[in-house]
Amino acid sequence: MAASPQPAARLQWLFGAIALPRGWRVGAGPLIAAAVLVVIVAATLAAPLIVPHDPMAMDALQRLKGPSDVYPLGTDAYGRDMLSRVVTGGRVSLLIGIGAAVISVAIGLMIGLVSGFFRLADAIIMRVMDSLMAIPSILLAIALVALNGPSIWSVMGAITIPEIPRVVRLVRSVVLSAREEPYVEAALALGSSMPKILWQHLMPNTLAPLIVQGTYICASAILTEAILSFLGAGVSTEIPTWGNIMAEGRVYFQLKPSLIFWPGLMLSLCILSINLLGDTARDLLDPRLKKREA
């Protein structure tokens, strides 16, 4: 281990004891994935500036048209420009994905830390988390969206809540195993207080797995948004998302597959990239795999 190349010292807080595996190098896959993601994110961020049409503007005479100079990807059932919608749709989809990841990780981290270190709280918290886990997330999400109306925030919330127990469990298990580490016991012996140990020694251990988990949550949130839209419980169609563009287009699947194809392609490319990056991060950060390489 001592001889293997080290990550830059600046990243040490994240990598912990884990060094880059011997001979490890980033393959073409993750690089392409990162490039794709950058392009998609940049395009959606700049959507208002670059799209050729107002993604909401309808034209009853231009319904379901094929690609043309005016409409490079054709139009949808309301005569709206597909290209503009697909590009704009990424904004909300990515917002939901990233939002769900960040919120569920943040909340899960807090609850998990508490649960991992305080036995009394643990029993209660874990019962509640078990219950939340037991409710099928998609049903919970549909019910929550029905409750709050199909706004972006309620969809994001509906996707976030079922993810929280998973994050809590992850954080808790990391904390439980890390608190057995001698350096934590040493900190205890040095008179450090519980909150300090929790935050300074244990919390950083959870960051690497949480980053990995966060990418997966992000990917699955984007996918869940699409499924919720499919089931009629997604974001209001007034705001295009990849999910509701596909949901609107699914009726025309045989007739005009491009209505599903383009948003589907963007969505899949995006999720694929996020997942690939998540996998790469995990390979990099997972000490168990590391052990095998050493």
Partner: protein
């Protein structure tokens, strides 16, 4: 299927524990199924209807699928034919000269599915229950002196004052026809759903194969005696020529189309017009319009809250809208929609298009802007409810929102599922506090083709339909209509109501459209009718 029932009883009997008992029982006996007994010689029509059947009481609900179910297993005393003329169905009638006493006589051979004969008492109970529920029925019962069974076959209905449209109302095919049920069933409260489904209609409901929302099976009622004569709408001889009719639900329109093309089903009640090109490729399937009257799509404002408590602003909104834009987006194919400014429907006896020029000619955005300015619109947001899960209602709000914005309205379009919408539209709260300003819905033309039955023309304030206009003028006109005893007079009043409606903007007619059906070419002789009926129809092998 039967086995499942037994098993359920078994579970209840012996494992009356947690609900999980069901699961445990289920897990033990794997591989059981919902076998539909298949008889090779049976002629079965498998039909995909526009929605799943969940409510089996055709009186408690106005849902079309339940009404259609009602026509399968129940029969009616009187029914209108395709010329809008009431015809005898279960009963013939006589009317006293003073137009106050209607005497109905049941025809011979009428039997319920449980074998009992249909009696006048059954009919009286059924009419009474219906009268508490149906708005047209309520009008009649308001002036009813007595309704009684004189003997087993004779029903006497005595009125306090004449009601010229009584037969039309009793014989109407929508939304709540007075289906005749056994007295023991019909004597229940109209607010509590019935639990026994025995009728005297041409088909028998097969309880064991009923799966709410998924499928329902009807068998031919062997003892049904059809009336003489050809079938015409709900009237005439209901001759059943198949053994079984099975309604199945397919939540995915694409799936249904693929299924009819591969011969897995025989009939689709409503085909989405955009998908017709797929069916055009099939030689085995015919696409046609069963019902020429079709549907009217409408917008309704809330009269209780700003900005639409102001008549000028209502007019401005109406002026901004274009039927062509709405229909073009909703339907797309001009063969299947029709710009029509008549609130009673084009092609109906009362239909008239007075006052609807802006609607039918593409809207007048400039005029709307001017009106808005005159009215002093202060930018109060218009809360527009958009259902996300009903295909035939998704386009109207989107198009309207854009038109209203173009005219200078501040529109707050809120998406929700249809169920939330129907709940919310019943709320009289302020729009910002869970109320609303504008929503859209569709009616079958026969449901709105007369001032008597069209719910939007009720002007009784809080007692009116959602939107709650307080409009004494329209109430007076409706009274005139009830009193009108010739078709000419009726038409005259109807035209006045039409003009009044478009001036007051009680509701905005947004045009008519037809929904084609698709049938396998094995099916023949299906009669044209607003209600899809399965009598007369034949199926080739």
């Amino acid at each position: 299927m039967l086995r499942i029932q037994e098993r359920l009883h078994h579970c209840k009997g012996y494992a009356r524990g947690a609900a999980l008992g069901l699961l445990a029982g289920a897990a033990l006996v794997s591989g059981a199924g919902l076998a539909t007994p298949a008889f090779a010689q049976d002629k079965t029509i498998t039909a995909v209807m526009h929605s799943g059947l969940r409510v089996l009481d055709p009186i408690i609900t106005t849902a079309h699928i339940t009404r259609n179910h009602g026509y399968m297993i129940y029969d009616v005393l009187v029914a209108v034919d395709e010329n809008f003329k009431p015809q005898p169905q279960m009963a013939d009638w006589t009317i006293s000269d003073d137009n106050l006493v209607y005497t109905f006589t049941l025809r011979d051979g009428l039997k319920f599915h449980d074998g009992a004969a249909v009696t006048a008492a059954d009919a009286v109970a059924s009419l009474t229950r219906w009268g508490k529920r149906d708005s047209g029925g309520q009008l009649i019962f308001d002036i009813t002196e007595s309704l009684e069974a004189k003997d087993d076959k004779t029903i006497v209905w005595t009125l306090k004052s004449p009601f010229p449209a009584l037969l039309d109302t009793v014989g109407k095919q929508s939304a709540v026809p007075p289906f005749i049920m056994p007295e023991r069933v019909a004597s229940g409260s109209p607010d509590e759903a019935i639990t026994e489904y025995v009728g005297s209609g041409p088909f028998v409901f097969v309880q064991e194969e009923y799966q709410p929302g998924v499928s329902v099976t009807y068998k031919k009622f062997a003892d049904y005696v059809p009336r003489e004569g050809a079938a015409s709408w709900m009237a005439g001889g209901k001759n059943v020529k198949v053994d079984t009719v099975k309604w199945v639900t397919m939540p995915d329109a694409q799936t249904a189309i693929n299924a009819i093309m591969s011969g897995e089903i025989d009939y689709i009640e409503q085909v989405q017009i955009d998908l017709l090109p797929i069916l055009a490729a099939s030689e085995d399937v015919t696409v046609e319009t069963r019902d020429d009257l079709g549907y009217q799509t409408i917008g309704r404002m809330n009269f209780k809250h700003p900005p639409f408590d102001n008549k000028k602003i209502r007019q401005a909104a109406q002026m901004a809208l274009s039927q062509e834009d709405v229909l073009g987006t909703l339907i797309g194919n001009a063969d299947y929609y029709k710009v029509c400014g008549a609130i009673f429907g084009c092609g109906t006896p009362l239909g008239d298009e007075s006052g609807s020029q802006t609607l039918t000619s593409g809207g007048d955005v400039e005029g709307a802007k001017k009106l808005l300015e005159e009215a002093g619109y202060d930018g109060t947001p218009v809360v527009l409810m958009q259902p996300t899960d009903v295909v035939s209602l998704t386009a109207q709000p989107v198009v309207a929102a854009q038109a209203l914005r173009n005219a200078g309205f501040n529109v707050d379009m809120q998406a929700m599922d249809w169920q939330t919408l129907v709940t919310r539209r019943a709320s009289q709260s302020k729009p910002a506090e869970g109320g609303w300003n504008l929503f859209f819905t569709n009616w079958m033309v026969p449901e709105i083709n007369s001032p008597l039955i069209s719910p939007m023309l009720n002007g009784r304030g809080d007692g009116a339909w959602f939107g709650w206009p307080k409009d004494d003028a329209v109430e007076a006109l409706r009274a005139d209509f009830i009193a009108a005893d010739t078709p000419e007079k009726q038409k005259e009043v109807a035209v006045a109501i039409q003009k009044h409606n478009l001036d007051e903007v009680l509701y905005i007619p947004l045009g008519e459209y037809a929904v084609p059906q698709a049938r396998s070419n094995k099916l023949t002789n299906m009669i044209p009718s607003p209600v899809p009926v399965f009598w007369n129809i034949e199926k080739a092998d």
